[in-house]
């Protein structure tokens, strides 16, 4: 059980860091839409449209690392199974 919790903690932490890096390493809040600029060539106005896109931010990374820490912490409440008996 101890080992399983530590493995889960490692998986959660690695997955979160990988997802955060792969999806732009955004150092702000998590976004569920991204602003896309569109240029109107006649007037020169740059408009903004939002398209659905998940961009994890530091809050996502922090929550995932906290969850991983909780799992790793919980593993301390379990003793190693004595396999030599």
């Amino acid at each position: 059980m101890k080992r399983a919790l530590r493995l889960m903690a490692l998986i959660v932490a690695v997955a979160a860091v990988t997802a955060w890096l792969a999806l732009g390493a955004h150092r702000g809040w998590t976004r569920t839409s991204a602003p896309v600029k569109i240029l109107d060539e006649v007037t020169g106005i740059e408009g903004v449209q939002y398209r659905k896109q998940f961009v994890p931010g530091l809050d996502f990374l922090g929550a995932a690392l906290l969850a991983a820490s909780c799992l790793a912490g919980a593993s301390l409440f379990f003793n190693h199974r004595n396999t030599q008996q």
Binding site: W29, P35, V42, T43, I45, E46
Partner: protein, 203 residues
């Protein structure tokens, strides 16, 4: 010969006066490009977004830009930010209260320090800005660009002119009762507003 020259001059003056009639530009944008942006400084990341629910009309005379008058309205519900929780708070009663105050508006009173070069005019516009039911007189820099006969390039099969308005200015959220309880070290009191809109006047 002299009298016909005088008549010709009279006709051309009359035509000039007729051409100089003020035009009314409609700012409802079928292309959805017109936008009003906002930005507030905050510790982790600046809170910035935009609104594209813009309507209103402006009367503009290319021969007399100083006489420009009009009113622009932004639908408060069209305010958008990329974070869903932030958007919920923004539309909520403490911030913009969009259900109770559906419109943000600006109505001109006068233009000051008007300078025109070619199709572009810069000025300081004095008018009443109404946000969350609070009306305040403000002065903001304004750039007007008159694009004669350009409407057909934007909307096929429609002849007319375009008027582009651009302005960037700063207001205080506490002046308009926008969550005055929010500490300024978490969210700045200053809101930077940017307006980029084009209106059309069909012939």
């Amino acid at each position: 010969m002299k009298s016909s020259l005088v008549s010709l001059f009279g006709l051309s003056v009359a035509a000039g006066v007729a051409l100089a009639d003020p035009q009314t530009f409609d700012f409802k944008d079928p292309k959805g490009v017109n936008n009003a942006g906002f930005k507030l400084d905050a510790p982790l990341e600046a809170i910035q977004g935009s609104a594209n629910g813009i309507s209103g009309s402006v009367t503009f005379d290319p021969e007399n830009p100083a006489a420009t008058k009009g009113k622009l309205v932004v639908a408060a519900a069209s305010l958008q930010v990329p974070n869903p929780m932030m958007k919920e708070h923004l539309h909520g009663s403490q911030w913009m209260d969009v259900q109770k105050h559906a419109e943000i508006s600006f109505e001109t009173k006068e233009l000051k320090h008007v300078k025109t070069t070619g199709d572009s005019t810069t000025a300081e516009v004095v008018g009443t800005l109404t946000i969350k039911g609070v009306a305040k007189e403000i002065t903001a820099p304004l750039k007007l660009t008159y694009l004669k006969d350009k409407l057909s390039q934007r909307v096929p099969n429609m002849k007319g002119d375009l008027l582009v308005l651009r302005s960037t200015f700063t207001i205080k959220r506490s002046d308009f009762g926008i969550n005055p309880a929010a500490p300024t070290d978490k969210v700045s009191d200053d809101i930077e507003l940017t307006l980029s809109v084009a209106g059309a006047a069909a012939h």
